[in-house]
């Protein structure tokens, strides 16, 4: 703790920390309040006399019900779940195999390949989206979830590989050598020994990958056109704005509900998520 008088603790610690927490979390509170606020209170100008922005005396579920019944929101959630889930599985599969190969096998061009995979992580989606759109169309994948399921791994695999390499490297070489002396082939040693021990890393990578997939926007925006195929992010952006009119109640309800699955998974696996985040940075 900070040495010195109590007031110093308040000025240098509690107040700044409180300010940070308030600033970082307020928008979510705002989302929540807006979602349950009736329209007549919602569209009250900011200078109106009886405006009480921070709470509402008449909470309502109408925005949420309208969202779920009048729009394709549930469909979008299902799409996003499917796409994020499958993309994560593909990326984990490739990432585990690639991470193992790069961290525990000696072969020519190993270093170059590792660097190559790292470099692809640095190529942003906004650089590739135009030519990729053409390619997706040529493969006849346009407007299907597969357009995303096959392209998301391009930024998920490098990340998973890099993260898992760190975990694999930490496993002592002797475990594998012992397994090989015990009679396991390299393949079996990888399957029965190395991968089970790396499960925490695999979980971290998987959760991070799922979150990143859920968050992706530009590919989903460009590759999907029909309303039924859209993901939550794209759907909320394009379908909940009719003409120039923003239906803020529904929008915020959509934003809130759209965040729930990710927040839910996150809440159970906070440690793994943080481990994934810090693992990728500490390399």
């Amino acid at each position: 703790m900070i040495e010195g008088a109590k007031w110093r603790r308040w000025v240098y610690f509690y107040i700044p920390l409180g300010a940070f927490v308030l600033w970082l979390l307020f928008p979510f509170y705002w989302m929540l309040v807006t979602s349950v606020r009736p329209d007549r209170e919602l569209y009250r100008p900011w200078m109106a006399p009886n405006y009480t922005p921070f709470w509402t005396a008449h909470p309502t579920l109408e925005h949420i019900t309208d969202l779920l019944t009048e729009t394709l929101f549930i469909r979008w959630m299902a799409n996003t779940l499917f796409i994020a889930g499958v993309a994560t599985l593909i990326s984990l599969f490739c990432g585990i195999l690639a991470g193992y190969a790069l961290s525990r096998l000696k072969f020519p061009f190993g270093g170059a390949l590792g660097t190559g995979i790292f470099i692809t992580y640095l190529v942003p989606q906004t650089l590739l989206f135009i030519p990729l759109a053409n390619i997706i169309r040529n493969f006849r994948l346009g407007d299907t979830p597969w357009a995303l399921i096959l392209t998301y791994p391009t930024f998920l695999i490098p990340f998973c590989t890099w993260l898992l390499m760190g975990y694999f490297k930490a496993i002592p070489r002797e475990l594998e050598e012992c397994a090989r002396i015990d009679g396991a082939t390299r393949w079996k040693a990888m399957l029965y020994i190395i991968i089970p021990i790396a499960v925490p890393g695999i979980l971290s990578a998987g959760i991070f990958a799922f979150t990143l997939s859920w968050n992706e926007f530009i590919y989903a925006l460009v590759f999907l056109s029909s309303a039924e195929q859209k993901t939550v992010s794209v759907g909320v952006t394009s379908e909940l704005v009719r003409g120039d009119v923003f239906y803020w109640g529904q929008l915020m309800a959509g934003a809130l509900l759209g965040s729930v699955p990710v927040a839910f998974i996150y809440s159970f696996f906070v440690e793994y998520y943080v481990a994934g985040l810090t693992g990728s940075v500490k390399g």
Partner: protein, 363 residues
Amino acid sequence: MARVVIRNLNKTFNNVHAVKGVNLEIRDREFVVLVGPSGCGKTTTLRMVAGLETITSGEILIGETVVNDLPPMDRDIAMVFQNYALYPHMSVYDNMAFGLKMRRFARSDIDRRVREAADILGIEDYLARKPRHLSGGQRQRVALGRAIVRHPQVFLFDEPLSNLDAMLRVQMRVEIKRIHDRLGTTAIYVTHDQVEAMTLGDRVVVMKDGVVQQVGKPLDLYNKPTNRFVAGFIGSPAMNFATVRVHRADSGLRADNVGFGIDVPAEIGPRLRPYAGRDVTIGIRPEDLQIANGNHLPGLCFDAVVEVVECLGAETLLDVLVGGQMMVAAVEPTVGAKRGDKLRLALRPERLHFFDTASEAAI
């Protein structure tokens, strides 16, 4: 027959020639210890026998088969690692059963073998536990058990006791010897600790810089080292070395330096005569430096001043200044010497070693 033959074994890493022309024959049921300082090539040699390192040139035979190109799993060996290498996600039982499962043994056979080994090692009570719930000594027993269940032709040990504390190390040493006596499997054991080498080995192989220095029974290495390195490596506290000049004296040869001189005993005279007028290295073990009394030959006595006294209980170590050199003498605990005392020390003629200063070979 599970003998191991190593012929002209060489290993080069990048530009480092780690193992140079090693020739060794380990007989069936023999317990051979490879010992030497770090970097001497002992672990590399062991790993080549195991198949964990490729062989640059030479041959290794296990039984009657040349195993150079066989992967580790086909060599019928088992290895105990320094860090135990227990699979952390499996129970003790599964750790020991893993190798048998990989070879598709019947479950009843696996069970029988695992329990047998557990019985030998006294670990039946923790078959269900995971390694992280075991102490260092228990983990090492499990590592041993994992090797035993395979009934291999050869056991390989890679410094298995280095990670244990001193007391545990002594206990496990006895355990290993006991198990070897009971099972009789051929074993190759690598260590940097010469005490382990002396107590465990039927024969000991001393290595330095990739070259085998001497092979022999422990006591042979102790009594008849073939070079200065082996003489200094085996035995604790280490042998004292001093440079002396040999010259002819009235009644034979004399070997001396500033403040220190002895008459060369008659048995050694002929060997040393070619060195008359030159320097040689004399080697005296601390336990062979005794307090002079009437029974010693006067030509083998000399003066010394005590610098440091270390009382160990069973013996006392005296760091003494002889002429200009420091030597260590291990004497009876009843000797009540103090710092600064002048003592007269004596040697026994049959306990002297001489080495050529250039080649370091024993004379």
